[in-house]
Subunit: 352 residues, 2 copies
Amino acid sequence: MTSVIDKMCQQTAGWLSGEGVDSDIVISSRTRLARNLQNISFVDRATEDEHRESLSKVLNAVQDNEFLNDGFYFDISILDDLDRQFFLERRLISTDFIEKDNPRGFFVTPNEETSIMINEEDHFRIQKLCSGFNLEETWHYVHQVYEELSRDLTFAFSERFGYLTACPTNVGTGVRFSVFIHLPVLTFTKEIEKVFAEMIPTGIAVRGFYGEGSKVIGNFFQISNQFTLGWTEQGILDRVIPFIKRFVSLERDARDRVMNDDRIIIEDKIYRALGILANVRILSSIEFLDLLSALRLGADLDMVNNINRKSFNELIVFTQPAHIQKIEGRKLTERERDTIRARLVREKLHFN
Amino acid sequence: MTSVIDKMCQQTAGWLSGEGVDSDIVISSRTRLARNLQNISFVDRATEDEHRESLSKVLNAVQDNEFLNDGFYFDISILDDLDRQFFLERRLISTDFIEKDNPRGFFVTPNEETSIMINEEDHFRIQKLCSGFNLEETWHYVHQVYEELSRDLTFAFSERFGYLTACPTNVGTGVRFSVFIHLPVLTFTKEIEKVFAEMIPTGIAVRGFYGEGSKVIGNFFQISNQFTLGWTEQGILDRVIPFIKRFVSLERDARDRVMNDDRIIIEDKIYRALGILANVRILSSIEFLDLLSALRLGADLDMVNNINRKSFNELIVFTQPAHIQKIEGRKLTERERDTIRARLVREKLHFN
């Protein structure tokens, strides 16, 4: 497996291409679908045999699936800590998935846009990511993959509730639509707090950089539906999409407004970030994301040139701790990582 | 007077030339001598007539003095707030001097190395500044000027105590020797706190950027004698000079040590400062001095090129609030000053 991981380490996932609708603000779109097999206990209550049964059934169906015929399967139990962290940073698996010890694994396509975790919280979860704002595309793709899987598998289903999942918030369709979105000016003006407060009763949630329970870093947010019970997939989509559109439009308005009213403050933030990133020698990943946020805004506002959107997106992933260590080929202390990160950033942004 | 002030505004005082012994660490050396006239009440207790008498007697003697034949006299009462602040920033007068309202003024030579405040706390105070570490030169010069003044003036003197001054700490010789010194690495390693603590019983005092009661900014300190009673001028000098030498040597040792042990941390500080100063759009005077301190250290350590010591010294003075406003020719808001300061710094450091 090492050579596959090493190869992944060199490449950029398709969903980081910086292409697609509104990709200045919406980094990526994601659909996740959760399902459990009929007549096998849910992961948290399953016996070792049941774990093996669900794993083998799902994996067989996945490897049979015409949409997934060139992917790789990773057995999590044989990956070391660094590789587990690496896949987490690639957003292919969850923290939960890393920490459990039941038989489990995940499948990923070469462009990393599609991945399937087997025996995480549910028997499996399909994830499809794409660059920019295009939730419908990700949903249609997941739906196709799922339809194909349904030929081989039968799912836990209740006439009353719909598809059954480990966590009640997923019962019904088992889908979650989310976007990874960059809202630097709404954050700067603090308007974002007001919009987030308004969202609480709508069932649309905002999370930090690494999803559930994580902090906001670099003005990057994950916005997703919290409701599914009683809704169709299209019904959820039709409700989520206008929310994201509203965020995009509020962010654009806020950018126009600050560029008229507080241009010098925004310029100061952007040029300072540029100056620091071009010269820094010790750089934590959190500080980096904060500075990257300013620099990316600078590019969006035509103040910073020669750095394309793909480079920004790549850096979000490549500067994370496990990536730095994979690139160097060994475990590193925090100081070593921060030093290498600083050098890597200067190189990638062509400052050297 | 406006044209003289405007001209001063364009020029750099001689003591900022960046020349002289140890001028990488010791920005400037200063001797100040305080005297009061016999048979005229001290400033705090004097009548209006007495104020005029001391002012006129001292000013006549100054203008008669062969060492001071090409200077300018400024009547403080006719200067506006901005000009008063300007002279304070030039270190030619004191905060006390600005705030009082008795008849008073000051005399300054064209290179600004010599100045005489009349009717501040004492009837007069002679100040001589020079670039680098050369307290003896400043003392010998002050002594010459003083000897010449003594021909025209008689001073308040006590057989028991020596020369009498308004503040008991100056009684005796009325001299204070001080240096303006840059100790970035001793500050960084926190060794400075230990050295300062050891100094307390010795009668040598450390003060901040603007002298008595002021904060430490940009790792610049003023070190001076607090004792004079019972000592000769040479005796004080012989005690102060080794202290300053010790600071210089401790700072040099600390620089060598961190360049061996923590080079990357020092590089990071220096290059960040460079990056920010080259790109900043809003810059307060305090942040500037902190960044300048790092950049100056970078130049001392051969990491930063193309900026000479004189430019650093000039910027310490020219970026202060009244200077920014004099250069622009009008009162400015804080935001305006911070914006102009940022532009000025980028220009002066040839970053634009």
